[in-house]
Symmetry: C2
Subunit: 194 residues, 2 copies
Amino acid sequence: MSTTVEIPPRSGTAFALSKGRTLTVIDPEGCQVADLLAYSAADVREVISNGRTFDYEETIMLTTGNRLWSNRSNTMLTIVADDVGRHDFLLTPCSEATFRHFYPTKPVHRGCFGNLAVALEPFGIGPDAIPTAFNLFMNVPLDGKGRLQVDPPVSEAGDSITLKAEMDLVIGLTACSAYASNGGSFKPINYRID
Amino acid sequence: MSTTVEIPPRSGTAFALSKGRTLTVIDPEGCQVADLLAYSAADVREVISNGRTFDYEETIMLTTGNRLWSNRSNTMLTIVADDVGRHDFLLTPCSEATFRHFYPTKPVHRGCFGNLAVALEPFGIGPDAIPTAFNLFMNVPLDGKGRLQVDPPVSEAGDSITLKAEMDLVIGLTACSAYASNGGSFKPINYRID
């Protein structure tokens, strides 16, 4: 029987996910974001790529049935279930620099970027190897002129997304640390491997 | 006096661009795409990032006045002039894999990805370090549901874009090799450093 693991507020983790297993990421309280990264376990220089994914999937709005592609044009993950249907693949993880830029009057936090860098270090993955993340539940609408804004997620308590591993992976995953992405409060993220 | 250099059709190049200099990329015949990459000359692990750029510029439609940011949250280039105003920062350079995927009946070409990999190798930059490129003159409209398509560029003969280097850079630049991005014909790209 699989166990649900909690990622505490403003923290992150990394773990192996074998080919064929599924990762379910749950927003237990609603309106929270989880930044997801994926690397090939066989060679961590192969990494999730928003550009390859947008190219092959021919959309920037990814949901059930869409695949997430690597920089080497291999499929890493397939989205097999999705309660929310609203995720972001445009923006990089929040970091000390983004806190200084967007929240100059608030305490600086290492953010999802810092949390991912610490969690991925034991897998031999350095901070410069962190690309644009697939930001689960993150709500980034574009207007007709390409301008973007970060709105609160539309996810409700218990909503989840399930992704199937198409190769042996190292996954990085966070409970987001930024104010805008989760409507101003910090909550945990849960995940389960089946 | 600066010299205009031609990048022949379906090829690419790489060169140093010192802080404070400007790079002008010209579409000499019109309706052609040039994929642009930028790395910090001091440490090539610092690289242009679409996610950081979208985050700080708060738009995916970049033109005069917008800056292009690195994965370390530093400004690499500022767009100081732009005849076209229509560029893409969503898609990765065309490659052998994208040729097989999108043009299965046509000869496979190494594409902008292969051309950039060869051109950047002398600078110690490997193919896995090629991220999503800033694709000058590339015309990738999105519909209201986030679906994208690759349309012919709107650039006309002689149109150009000028970018100012905000740090010492290594630049990768191509004359695009894919059918869809340039309306089905392969043309040169010119550039000039001032």
